[in-house]
């Protein structure tokens, strides 16, 4: 199990390979990567991600622990960046490994749902015309109800 909160960029492909290489015996590996996408106005210059040092690591470790307790996982990984990110940069990724794909998929979705609404990160979109905090989506809060 690995939780990393970092300012530095990461290479999602290299991370996926490293993760998969470490889970001998697990036939199913699922990854999710969140990427800085454009805004409707089309002029996104950067995404700034603020977080709550200390609580962030604590919350993510708790969420990963919950996933491990609930599904039969060989391993799980969470990486989340903070600071200033460029368009098309990976923001974060989760990866799960399990013997069967059902567990790997469910745990990855669970990790994402809880990470979205329970880990203390806040995104701010910087465009040429100004800066704006991203609003939480009601869908994201509602997604927790299924677990």
């Amino acid at each position: 199990m690995d939780v990393r909160v970092q300012d530095a960029p990461f290479d999602m492909g290299a991370e996926l390979n490293r993760f998969a290489a470490g889970v001998d015996g697990a036939g199913a590996v699922v990854s999710f990567t969140g990427i800085v996408r454009g805004v409707a106005s089309g002029d996104l210059e950067a995404m700034e991600i603020e977080h709550y040092p200390g609580m962030t690591e604590r919350a993510l470790t708790q969420i990963v622990g919950d996933a491990v307790a609930r599904w039969d996982l060989a391993d799980a990984l969470v990486i989340h960046r903070h600071g200033r990110l460029s368009p098309a940069a990976p923001i974060m990724m989760v990866a799960t490994a399990a013997r069967h794909r059902g567990d790997a998929f469910a745990a990855a979705e669970f990790l994402m749902d809880y990470l979205k609404s329970r880990a203390p990160f806040w995104k701010k979109e910087i465009t040429r015309s100004g800066a704006q905090w991203v609003a939480a989506r009601e869908d994201d809060e509602n997604a927790l109800a299924r677990w």
Partner: protein, 81 residues
């Protein structure tokens, strides 16, 4: 007690950190007290539905007791991922 503010709460209040003496019993009591500190505080805490709180780095409900809390944080709903 250490107070931490994040995202637009931090911007509205004008700082991410302040230390106060308080006898507030719950998070809600603490907010009521903070709103009297300055116009910026009053503005930042004007819409409680848009605010989340953590006590000693655990997310809590607004009526949570503060007891011996060392650090209380306020922030908008999270938008990571």
């Amino acid at each position: 007690m250490d107070l931490r503010y994040f995202a637009w709460l931090r911007e509205r209040i004008g700082t991410g950190h302040e230390t106060i003496q308080t006898e507030a019993a719950t998070v809600l009591d603490l907010i009521a007290e903070l709103k009297t500190r300055s116009e910026a505080h009053a503005f930042a805490f004007s819409d409680l539905a848009a605010i989340r709180a953590a006590v000693d780095q655990e997310l809590v409900d607004m009526d949570a007791p503060l007891r011996d809390a060392k650090e209380v944080a306020f922030f908008p709903p999270m938008t990571g991922g």
